[in-house]
Protein backbone atom coordinates (compact mmCIF):
# COMPACT_ATOMS: atom_id res chain seq x y z
CA UNK A 1 0.00 0.00 0.00
CA UNK A 2 2.81 2.36 0.93
CA UNK A 3 4.41 2.67 -2.51
CA UNK A 4 1.32 2.35 -4.62
CA UNK A 5 -0.08 5.26 -6.55
CA UNK A 6 -3.61 6.32 -5.72
CA UNK A 7 -5.87 6.46 -8.78
CA UNK A 8 -9.58 6.84 -9.50
CA UNK A 9 -10.14 3.21 -8.55
CA UNK A 10 -8.59 3.68 -5.10
CA UNK A 11 -10.83 6.68 -4.44
CA UNK A 12 -13.90 4.71 -5.60
CA UNK A 13 -12.97 1.90 -3.26
CA UNK A 14 -12.82 4.40 -0.35
CA UNK A 15 -16.24 5.81 -1.27
CA UNK A 16 -17.67 2.31 -1.56
CA UNK A 17 -16.27 1.27 1.82
CA UNK A 18 -16.94 4.47 3.77
CA UNK A 19 -20.30 5.53 2.37
CA UNK A 20 -21.65 2.35 0.83
CA UNK A 21 -22.42 3.68 -2.64
CA UNK A 22 -22.13 1.06 -5.35
CA UNK A 23 -18.78 0.86 -7.10
CA UNK A 24 -20.50 1.92 -10.31
CA UNK A 25 -22.00 5.07 -8.74
CA UNK A 26 -18.71 5.83 -7.01
CA UNK A 27 -16.73 5.65 -10.23
CA UNK A 28 -19.33 7.75 -11.99
CA UNK A 29 -19.24 10.48 -9.32
CA UNK A 30 -15.43 10.55 -9.18
CA UNK A 31 -15.35 11.01 -12.95
CA UNK A 32 -18.05 13.65 -12.68
CA UNK A 33 -16.18 15.61 -9.97
CA UNK A 34 -13.09 15.75 -12.19
CA UNK A 35 -15.19 16.70 -15.19
CA UNK A 36 -16.88 19.57 -13.32
CA UNK A 37 -13.55 20.84 -12.08
CA UNK A 38 -12.01 20.73 -15.55
CA UNK A 39 -15.07 22.49 -16.89
CA UNK A 40 -14.88 25.24 -14.29
CA UNK A 41 -11.19 25.80 -15.00
CA UNK A 42 -11.64 25.87 -18.75
CA UNK A 43 -14.23 28.62 -18.24
CA UNK A 44 -11.57 30.57 -16.37
CA UNK A 45 -13.29 30.02 -13.03
CA UNK A 46 -10.93 29.20 -10.14
CA UNK A 47 -11.77 26.38 -7.72
CA UNK A 48 -11.57 26.95 -3.99
CA UNK A 49 -11.83 24.02 -1.59
CA UNK A 50 -11.32 25.27 1.93
CA UNK A 51 -9.89 22.07 3.39
CA UNK A 52 -7.83 21.01 0.37
CA UNK A 53 -6.58 23.99 -1.59
CA UNK A 54 -7.26 26.11 -4.64
CA UNK A 55 -6.82 25.53 -8.34
CA UNK A 56 -6.14 28.80 -10.09
CA UNK A 57 -5.91 29.73 -13.75
CA UNK A 58 -3.03 31.97 -14.67
CA UNK A 59 -2.52 33.66 -18.02
CA UNK A 60 1.08 33.41 -19.21
CA UNK A 61 2.38 35.91 -21.74
CA UNK A 62 4.26 34.70 -24.76
CA UNK A 63 8.03 34.73 -24.43
CA UNK A 64 11.15 33.61 -26.21
CA UNK A 65 12.34 30.23 -25.01
CA UNK A 66 15.15 28.00 -26.07
CA UNK A 67 15.28 24.31 -26.77
CA UNK A 68 17.75 23.24 -24.09
CA UNK A 69 19.14 20.50 -26.29
CA UNK A 70 19.64 22.32 -29.56
CA UNK A 71 19.82 25.89 -28.14
CA UNK A 72 17.52 27.00 -30.93
CA UNK A 73 15.30 29.88 -29.90
CA UNK A 74 11.58 29.49 -30.26
CA UNK A 75 8.54 31.55 -29.33
CA UNK A 76 6.54 30.09 -26.48
CA UNK A 77 3.04 31.26 -27.22
CA UNK A 78 0.64 32.89 -24.81
CA UNK A 79 -1.20 30.26 -22.79
CA UNK A 80 -3.18 29.44 -19.68
CA UNK A 81 -1.76 27.31 -16.90
CA UNK A 82 -3.31 25.71 -13.81
CA UNK A 83 -1.68 26.40 -10.47
CA UNK A 84 -2.49 24.42 -7.34
CA UNK A 85 -2.08 26.12 -3.97
CA UNK A 86 -2.47 23.66 -1.09
CA UNK A 87 -4.46 24.84 1.92
CA UNK A 88 -2.84 25.33 5.33
CA UNK A 89 -4.70 22.20 6.46
CA UNK A 90 -3.22 20.06 3.70
CA UNK A 91 0.26 21.48 4.29
CA UNK A 92 0.02 20.63 7.97
CA UNK A 93 -1.29 17.16 7.23
CA UNK A 94 1.59 16.15 5.00
CA UNK A 95 4.10 17.56 7.49
CA UNK A 96 2.93 15.69 10.59
CA UNK A 97 5.14 12.66 11.39
Amino acid sequence: MKDKTLTRLGICEAIYRQIGLSRKDSLDIVQNILEKKANSLSNGDDIKLSSFGSFLIKRKKSRIGRNPKTKIEAVISERNVVIFRPSMQLKNKINTD
Binding site: M1, K2, D3, K4, T5, L6, T7, R8, G10, I11, A14, I15, Q18, I19, L21, D25, S26, I29, V30, N32, I33, L34, K36, K37, A38, S40, L41, S42, N43, D45, D46, I47, K48, L49, S50, S51, F52, G53, I57, R79, N80, V81, V82, I83, F84, P86, L90, K91, K93, I94, N95, T96, D97
Partner: protein
Protein backbone atom coordinates in the same frame (compact mmCIF):
# COMPACT_ATOMS: atom_id res chain seq x y z
CA UNK B 1 -16.28 27.37 -7.86
CA UNK B 2 -16.49 26.56 -4.18
CA UNK B 3 -17.02 23.16 -2.59
CA UNK B 4 -20.69 23.90 -1.90
CA UNK B 5 -21.23 24.77 -5.57
CA UNK B 6 -19.54 21.55 -6.67
CA UNK B 7 -21.84 19.60 -4.34
CA UNK B 8 -24.96 21.36 -5.63
CA UNK B 9 -23.99 20.69 -9.24
CA UNK B 10 -23.41 17.01 -8.45
CA UNK B 11 -26.71 16.74 -6.56
CA UNK B 12 -28.57 17.63 -9.77
CA UNK B 13 -26.92 14.74 -11.60
CA UNK B 14 -27.81 12.17 -8.93
CA UNK B 15 -31.42 12.74 -7.90
CA UNK B 16 -31.52 9.24 -6.38
CA UNK B 17 -28.79 10.11 -3.83
CA UNK B 18 -29.17 12.09 -0.63
CA UNK B 19 -27.55 15.52 -0.63
CA UNK B 20 -25.64 14.62 2.54
CA UNK B 21 -24.26 11.48 0.87
CA UNK B 22 -22.92 13.60 -1.97
CA UNK B 23 -21.30 15.91 0.58
CA UNK B 24 -19.68 12.84 2.13
CA UNK B 25 -18.50 11.60 -1.27
CA UNK B 26 -16.77 14.91 -1.97
CA UNK B 27 -15.15 14.80 1.48
CA UNK B 28 -13.96 11.22 1.00
CA UNK B 29 -12.65 12.18 -2.44
CA UNK B 30 -10.42 14.95 -1.06
CA UNK B 31 -9.55 13.10 2.15
CA UNK B 32 -8.28 10.09 0.23
CA UNK B 33 -6.03 12.34 -1.83
CA UNK B 34 -4.75 14.17 1.27
CA UNK B 35 -4.16 10.94 3.14
CA UNK B 36 -2.32 9.33 0.26
CA UNK B 37 -0.05 12.36 0.06
CA UNK B 38 0.48 12.31 3.82
CA UNK B 39 1.55 8.66 3.47
CA UNK B 40 4.05 9.63 0.83
CA UNK B 41 2.03 8.15 -2.03
CA UNK B 42 1.57 9.74 -5.41
CA UNK B 43 -1.94 10.44 -6.70
CA UNK B 44 -2.61 10.14 -10.39
CA UNK B 45 -5.91 11.14 -11.96
CA UNK B 46 -5.49 10.56 -15.69
CA UNK B 47 -6.49 13.57 -17.72
CA UNK B 48 -6.79 15.86 -14.72
CA UNK B 49 -3.30 15.67 -13.31
CA UNK B 50 -1.05 14.15 -10.69
CA UNK B 51 -0.23 15.13 -7.13
CA UNK B 52 2.97 14.27 -5.34
CA UNK B 53 5.00 15.61 -2.47
CA UNK B 54 8.47 17.02 -2.70
CA UNK B 55 10.91 17.35 0.14
CA UNK B 56 12.38 20.80 0.74
CA UNK B 57 15.62 20.75 2.71
CA UNK B 58 16.24 22.85 5.82
CA UNK B 59 17.50 26.36 5.08
CA UNK B 60 18.34 29.64 6.74
CA UNK B 61 15.59 32.09 5.99
CA UNK B 62 15.29 35.72 6.87
CA UNK B 63 12.55 37.66 8.49
CA UNK B 64 11.71 40.06 5.67
CA UNK B 65 10.71 42.76 8.14
CA UNK B 66 13.87 43.06 10.23
CA UNK B 67 16.38 40.96 8.29
CA UNK B 68 16.95 38.53 11.17
CA UNK B 69 18.09 35.03 10.30
CA UNK B 70 15.67 32.22 11.13
CA UNK B 71 16.21 28.51 10.72
CA UNK B 72 13.55 26.96 8.49
CA UNK B 73 13.30 23.20 9.09
CA UNK B 74 12.94 20.67 6.28
CA UNK B 75 9.41 20.27 5.08
CA UNK B 76 7.34 18.60 2.43
CA UNK B 77 5.30 20.50 -0.10
CA UNK B 78 2.57 19.40 -2.45
CA UNK B 79 3.34 19.41 -6.14
CA UNK B 80 0.61 19.32 -8.76
CA UNK B 81 1.23 18.61 -12.40
CA UNK B 82 -1.78 19.26 -14.64
CA UNK B 83 -2.77 16.48 -17.02
CA UNK B 84 -2.41 16.76 -20.76
CA UNK B 85 -6.14 16.75 -21.40
CA UNK B 86 -6.76 19.52 -18.86
CA UNK B 87 -3.96 21.66 -20.31
CA UNK B 88 -5.53 21.32 -23.74
CA UNK B 89 -8.98 22.17 -22.44
CA UNK B 90 -7.98 25.35 -20.63
CA UNK B 91 -6.30 26.53 -23.80
CA UNK B 92 -8.98 25.70 -26.32
CA UNK B 93 -11.99 27.66 -25.04
CA UNK B 94 -11.94 31.40 -24.59
Amino acid sequence: MKKSELIDQLAKDYPHLYHRDIEKVVDVFYNSISEALANGQRVELRGFGAFSTKERGPRIGRNPKNGERVAVPRKKSVYYKPGKELKERINSSN
